[in-house]
């Protein structure tokens, strides 16, 4: 089970906070802060696992994170999840963001937190991994976007953040899992 998914920037500003276990808001903020301090002091070239300890749950929980440019993506998971699998899942999530936002950058996450949530909801549901096939995720997101568009959206012309955009620049990370399945071979994929 995934207990929490936190995205914050290099200064600890939360960009996405998704807990799958109830914590009051102030505790959530505290966890984000503590997590930030934990990962901040770690070099980029040391391992991506941290024993969560006091934060959420007990010794069964681990923090698994990746650092992309200005953002940290942190997943707090228990021992039923594969560590390397979750690392790949983070990669899938970020790549999906990249596809949906067309060269995602921190500003996209800042101004479209809701959309990031919707994308995440197609990847993880209630703390369990829902879908790992990026094409499938993107297809569902796009279908929902079309649906939203057909309804006229929330406001007529959503202001898109266009300004000094700093791309996250996805690094080429060796994939541990061959996550992407070819949808052509999947019977029943809709």
């Amino acid at each position: 089970m995934i207990q929490a998914i936190l995205v914050f920037n290099n200064h600890g500003k939360p960009r996405l906070v998704r807990f799958y276990q109830r914590f009051p808001e102030e505790i959530q903020q505290q966890i984000v802060r503590e997590t930030f301090h934990l990962v901040l002091k770690r070099d980029d070239n040391i391992c991506n696992f941290l024993e969560g300890g006091s934060l959420i749950g007990g010794s069964d929980y681990k923090l698994i994170y990746r650092h992309y440019a200005t953002l940290y993506f942190v997943f707090c998971v228990d021992s039923s999840e594969s560590e390397l699998g979750i690392l790949d899942l983070i990669q899938v999530f970020v790549e999906t963001l990249d596809k949906c936002f067309e060269n995602v950058c921190e500003l996209d996450l800042i101004f479209h937190m809701d959309k990031v949530h919707y994308i995440l909801q197609e990847v993880v549901m209630g703390g369990m991994v829902l879908e790992t096939n990026m094409n499938e995720i993107v297809a569902q997101i796009e279908a929902q976007n079309r649906l939203e568009k057909s309804e006229g959206g929330l406001s007529a012309a959503p202001a898109r953040a266009v300004s000094a955009v700093k791309n996250i620049n996805l690094p080429e990370i060796p994939r541990n899992i061959n996550i992407g399945r070819n949808p052509d071979h999947e019977p029943g994929a809709c």
Partner: protein, 1212 residues
């Protein structure tokens, strides 16, 4: 109206949207809080407007603010409003906000039930999807209960997108509403084979999550998962399954053996590191679960260790970390394989990454042996010196202590060395683990008698330079060691060389700066020292010197009397008075030493940590019973504060009671000794090492090296552990030489002896390092009759315990998921749908097996080669070990054998007799109905005929997944896991089959399970079962109904559907078989109209049906027979051609017996009736005949049983 709308949209133009809010916050960095509170005010205004679009926009902004830490629960109602919007855009916003801020305490959450139900059944898959996603985050027990049925329906939705979400959310539903697990489980299992890989993956995910918490309930799914594992190419699914197997193998060794090969193949073939890693992990789990004497597995271990080494050597820190993590698991069972890589581990200690260093430390823990302990600790000590940062240093410190103290100091051959290591550790400044060191010092000094002298000398040195240690006086700091030092010096003062000096050190004024609890120990032990010195002085006839000491005490003690710490103050005042009194006596030349020493006479023995818990509750003592009547509720409120004193008073009163005179005490002591001597669980403090107690905490006897007197050991001043290292090496060297010399001699004597395996000189193994002299560690005291096992580790608050649900018990009708029929159109699905889970509801539970059966099993297994992969038992049978879980999914699972694995195995082979019998079943009302022909194995045969209506399912079942079978006597579950459904009655509409089951828990009740199968094209409803009660046997009817009323069947039957209803009967006497007449009435409705129909039947309660398969060990069985309380009777049946094996299986199966023991063609069997009668059988097979001798606590019952048995045997 139109105007309003226009106004609304104009307003909206000025509203901030999410982007405006974010931008605004970024532009108000200096007064962010103020700006946000402004925005919240605006949002509140927006929420008051009628337009749902405005509200949705406001809620969207709130969600953002929630992320920043603002509580938005005040808007819960508005969030619900937005959730119920008809547009997807808004709905999604609402559900997102709800998922972020709703929780069990949100009171308006109950208002969402119907909205969610509506969304779940929405024609748009995205409405449904959004509702499922939201619900997964805020589902409450109430929501789970109300919506479980709707979600379960969605598991069979046409869209995989919905199916996978519905499957996943079921886990949350189970957690909140555990009752839903059993009804929903069959469908969940079905989803494991869903054509859509996403759905399949979700189902695997959920079941893995469930199984992780309560693995034994899911053992039966092993074959299905095995199939998935070998067929799936989705690494996510593979990882989950492989992880699951890791949790299952400890329960089923045979499974492990089965897994090794495919896992090894995966390890060799996969390129995905994550998969490789999980495979290695599970192989490790398998190897752990298998007993170690498997030589052919050393290859697997080597493979794992080798792959892990590759991981650890990888430049990727993640792989390095995981490699170490997995290595530590291998270490537990195969330390030797890992120890070969000590270099690698030590190297990792120097890694720049702290996580990796910590993992490496963990590994070290298991790598130590007697041989390398000293070396490893030395290395760690050097790291302690180097370590910057107290966290890591503290970690090192605890690890050193852990490593040395593990398994009762198993690896320490020289305790002097250890004490000096501990003393060296006291030099650490700023550690938080002073108390750990102190605890070790105390433990060693108390338990290793031989070391006391040395320990005392070291401790007195420590006390002497207490000022160094005590410079930092924070709690748990290093000053804690003074606590231990003071106590050891005081308690073992007889070993002190210079007691006077130590006494003075302990009375220094500086001591008063120590924490209170340490001072308290100082005060107490000062007196012990004082007593020792007095004794010394008086014996030496130096009254003056004795008085001097007293004077010193009188002078120095007042500094403690003034202490702010109550404990210190109290002890000091007491002792000061005592010493003053002594002073007076001394002035009169009265010898006092004797009496003062008497204060501290006797030894304090260590008590095992769990001793208290292990005291068994004496028979007849009910700890929960009230001693006095509890005060009535009304009073308790006001009296609460008083109660405290009340209790205290009682406690004071207690000791007065058991004042027995000396004689009585002596007598009791004698009796206790006697009892202890006879009690195998009592741990005697004999000095010999007793291996078999090794599992018990703190009770081993460990050889300890006595001080080697050939080397002068009095090390003045600070001890340095290195010195002891050298001494130890020398000692070992000498020992080795000695040994070699002896060996040589031996060799000379027997030159023709077998070639030696190892060169004795340099490959010294652990065992070779023998301590010079054996010294026993004082054992910790355990209570008499201490219970050998401790079950107290389970956390009663574990939320997953509620999910420890037996999945094989048949579903009771009350267990159906609640369906809200009124109000909601879409829940009125055809009953067919509701029935689906019922069709496959019974899952047999894996049973633990008695070891005894293993032998037999092994015999039987020989030569069994046919029918590859047909069922779980065969599936696992390539290995000699036993105990397999069954795994059935069909309702017929009920009809599976328990105590007789014989049945499980043999029946599956084509035994002519058995096969024929099975075929007869279809006609013979005494047998279970079955439509399956030969070559189908047992399980399938037992399925009820309705199964053929589900061809697809059937197929999956026979594909090897979940097959039934076997399994040993049930030791936990009193329900008889075997039964055969017999035909009860049949007409053109309906067919009734039934089975009677007893339960040991209800001594006069049996449950009759009736399967009703609709054989017509009509819809059957209003079914009602009425029975003519006899005096002895009565149908349990709902309260308030008369004896003539029928009991309604709680379901309806669409054409072709069958379902099971259960009826409870109360029985007064069970010694004879009985028959009851009854009628089933129902309304058959078809296109032409409805007719009222009836079907008469006769329920036959055979005596067998009152028996419950109960395991019995042979010793208990023998005792039972010896008791002589049983009456005896015999039968003999001739003309039997069936093999003895099958015969026994048949008896087990049809008559609910279990085999106790079997020798050649003779077997003892046991069963128990629901009223507690013991029934013992001795079955002997001669040539073509079988004789059965029975013994039973009731003669009449035995008679009836043997008659029934005879009837069965006659068919053989």
């Amino acid at each position: 109206m139109a105007l309003k709308m226009v106004k609304g949209s104009i307003d909206r133009m000025f509203d901030k949207n999410l982007q405006d809010l974010v931008r605004g916050i970024r532009n108000h960095k200096e007064d962010e809080a103020k700006y946000i509170s402004q925005c919240i005010d605006e949002i509140k205004q927006e929420l008051k407007q009628d337009s749902i679009a405005v509200k949705a926009n406001a809620v969207c902004k709130l969600t953002y603010l929630q992320m920043l830490g603002y509580d938005i629960s005040w808007a819960a109602f508005n969030i619900i409003e937005v959730m119920s919007a008809s547009k997807f855009t808004f709905k999604r916003i609402g559900y997102l906000a709800a998922s972020q801020c709703f929780h069990e305490g949100t009171d308006v959450i109950m208002l969402t039930t119907n909205q969610i139900r509506k969304d779940l059944s929405s024609p748009s898959q995205y409405d449904t999807g959004v509702a499922l996603t939201g619900l997964s985050c805020f589902v409450t027990p109430d929501l789970a209960r109300d919506l479980a049925n709707d979600i379960m329906t969605l598991m069979s939705h046409t869209k995989p997108y919905i199916r996978k979400k519905a499957v996943l959310i079921m886990y949350k539903v189970f957690l909140k509403y555990p009752e839903s697990l059993r009804p929903a489980f069959p469908r969940l299992k079905e989803k494991l084979e869903d054509p859509d890989p996403g759905v399949q993956s979700a189902a695997v995910n959920v079941i893995c999550e469930l199984a992780r918490r309560n693995p034994k309930n899911y053992l039966s799914l092993a074959p299905l998962f095995f199939k998935l594992m070998t067929s799936s190419t989705n690494n996510w699914v593979l990882i989950k399954i492989i992880k699951l197997f890791g949790a299952l193998t400890p329960l089923e060794p045979r499974l492990g053996k089965k897994l090794i090969e495919p896992l090894t193949n995966l390890i060799h073939s996969t390129s995905a590191m994550s998969l490789l890693y999980e495979c290695v992990n599970t192989v490790i789990a398998v190897l752990i679960s298998l007993s170690s004497g498997m030589p052919n597995h050393s290859a697997s271990i080597q493979l794992c260790v080798q792959k892990l080494r590759i991981l650890i050597e990888d430049s990727d820190q993640n792989l390095k970390y995981l490699g170490l993590l997995a290595m530590s698991k291998i270490l537990r069972t195969h330390p030797k394989s890992v120890q070969a890589h000590k270099d690698l581990v030590l190297q990792c200690l120097d890694d720049k990454d702290e996580s990796i260093r910590l993992r490496a430390l963990d590994l070290l823990y298991g790598m130590v042996s007697k041989k390398n302990l000293v070396e490893i600790v030395k290395k760690l000590m050097s790291h302690v010196d180097k370590a910057e940062g107290t966290t890591y240093r503290d970690e090192l410190l605890t690890k050193i202590i852990d490593i040395c103290s593990q398994c009762n100091y198993q690896h320490i051959t020289n305790f002097q060395w250890y004490i000096s290591v501990l003393v060296e550790l006291t030099r650490l400044e700023g550690t938080r683990h002073g108390h750990l060191i102190a605890a070790q010092m105390l433990d060693v000094a108390i338990r290793v008698k031989a070391i006391r002298k040395f320990a005392v000398s070291q401790m007195s040195a420590l006390l002497d330079r207490a000022h160094l240690v005590a410079s930092s006086t924070q709690r748990n700091g290093i000053c804690e060691v003074l606590y231990a030092a003071a106590w050891i010096c005081g308690e073992f003062s007889e070993h002190l060389q210079e007691p006077q000096q130590t006494l003075e050190a302990m009375l220094r004024p500086k001591v008063t700066t120590l924490p209170g609890h340490i001072q308290a120990v100082y005060v107490q032990n000062v007196v012990k020292l004082y007593a020792a010195i007095l004794q010394q002085r008086e014996q030496a006839a130096e009254p003056e010197a004795a008085q001097d000491v007293t004077q010193l005490m009188v002078e120095r003690l007042p500094q403690f009397v003034q202490s702010a710490d109550l404990e210190v103050q109290e002890r000091a005042s007491c002792i000061l008075q005592l010493v003053k009194h002594i002073q007076k006596l001394q002035a009169k030349d009265v010898p006092v030493a004797e009496e003062v020493s008497a204060l501290f006479a006797g030894e304090l023995n260590p008590v095992a940590p769990k001793a208290q818990k292990k005291v068994p509750v004496p028979e007849g003592l009910d700890l929960d019973a009230w001693i006095n009547e509890p005060p009535s509720d009304s009073e308790s409120e006001d009296e609460k504060p008083k109660a405290i004193f009340h209790e205290e008073e009682q406690r004071h009163g207690k000791p007065r009671q058991p004042e027995a005179d000396e004689e009585e005490l002596a007598r009791r002591r004698e009796a206790r000794k006697q009892e202890q001597a006879n009690n195998p669980f009592y741990i005697k403090s004999s000095p010999s090492p007793q291996k078999r107690y090794q599992d018990l905490p703190g009770v081993e006897h460990i050889p300890v090296v006595q001080i080697d007197l050939s080397v002068p050991l009095k090390v003045p001043g600070m001890p340095v552990s290195d010195q002891y290292v050298k001494l130890e090496e020398e000692r070992r060297h000498r020992q080795r030489l000695e040994k070699d010399r002896k060996k040589k001699k031996k060799k000379d004597k027997e030159r023709k002896g077998k070639p030696r395996r190892r060169g004795s000189l340099h490959t010294e193994s652990d065992e070779d390092i023998a301590p010079a002299q054996q010294v026993d560690i004082v054992t910790e005291e355990m209570p008499e009759n201490a219970l050998p096992s401790d079950e107290d580790d389970k956390d009663p608050n574990d939320p997953y315990r509620a999910l420890d649900i037996d999945l094989d018990r048949p579903l009771a009708d009350s267990e159906k998921l609640p369906v809200q029929k009124h109000r909601n159109a879409d829940t009125s699905k055809s009953p067919e749908k509701e029935d689906v889970p019922v069709k496959e509801r019974k899952i047999k539970k894996p049973k633990k097996k008695e070891k005894k059966h293993k032998e037999k099993e092994r015999e039987k297994k020989k030569g069994k080669e046919e029918k590859v992969g047909e069922d779980l038992d065969f599936w696992l049978s390539t290995t000699p070990l036993s105990a397999v879980p069954p795994a059935p999914e069909e309702p017929g699972a009920n009809a599976v054998i328990a105590a007789a694995q014989e049945e499980g195995e043999e029946a599956r082979r084509e035994e002519p007799g058995d096969e024929e019998e099975e075929d007869e079943d279809e006609r013979d009302p005494e047998k279970k109905p079955s439509k399956h022909k030969k070559k189908k194995h047992k399980k399938e045969k037992e399925e009820r005929s309705k199964d053929k209506k589900k061809p697809k399912k059937k197929k999956s079942a026979s594909d090897g997944a979940a097959e039934p079978v076997e399994n040993g006597a049930l030791d936990e579950d009193p329900l008889p896991p075997m039964s055969s459904y017999c035909l009860l009655a049949e007409n053109s509409y309906i067919k009734m089959t039934y089975d009677i089951q007893g339960s040991l828990q209800k001594d006069s009740q049996v449950t009759v399970s009736v399967v009703l199968e609709n054989q017509s094209n009509s819809f059957l409803k209003n079914m009602e079962l009425s029975v003519l009660d006899s005096l002895n046997t009565k149908l349990a009817r709902p309260e308030g109904s008369s004896v003539h009323d029928g009991v309604p069947v709680p379901f309806q039957l669409p054409p072709g559907v069958s379902n099971e209803a259960q009826f409870v009967f109360t029985i007064r006497s069970i010694v004879t078989a009985q028959k009851l007449k009854g009628t089933l009435s129902f309304i058959a409705k078809d296109d032409e109209g409805s007719t009222h129909e009836k079907l008469d039947f006769q329920l036959h309660f055979s005596c067998t049906s009152y028996l419950v398969t109960t395991p019995c060990y042979s010793d208990a069985f023998a005792k039972l027979l010896e008791s002589g309380d049983l009456s005896m009777s015999s039968i003999k049946v001739d003309g039997i051609s069936m093999s003895f094996q099958n015969l026994l299986a048949k008896i087990c199966f049809h008559h609910h017996f279990s085999v106790v023991e079997r020798v050649d063609s003779c077997a003892s069997m046991y069963s128990r009736s629901i009223q507690g009668h013991h029934v013992c059988l001795l079955v002997k097979k001669g040539d073509k005949s079988v004789s059965v001798d029975g013994k039973c606590s009731d003669a009449a019952l035995l008679g009836s049983l043997l008659e029934e048995l005879k009837a069965t045997l006659a068919q053989c």
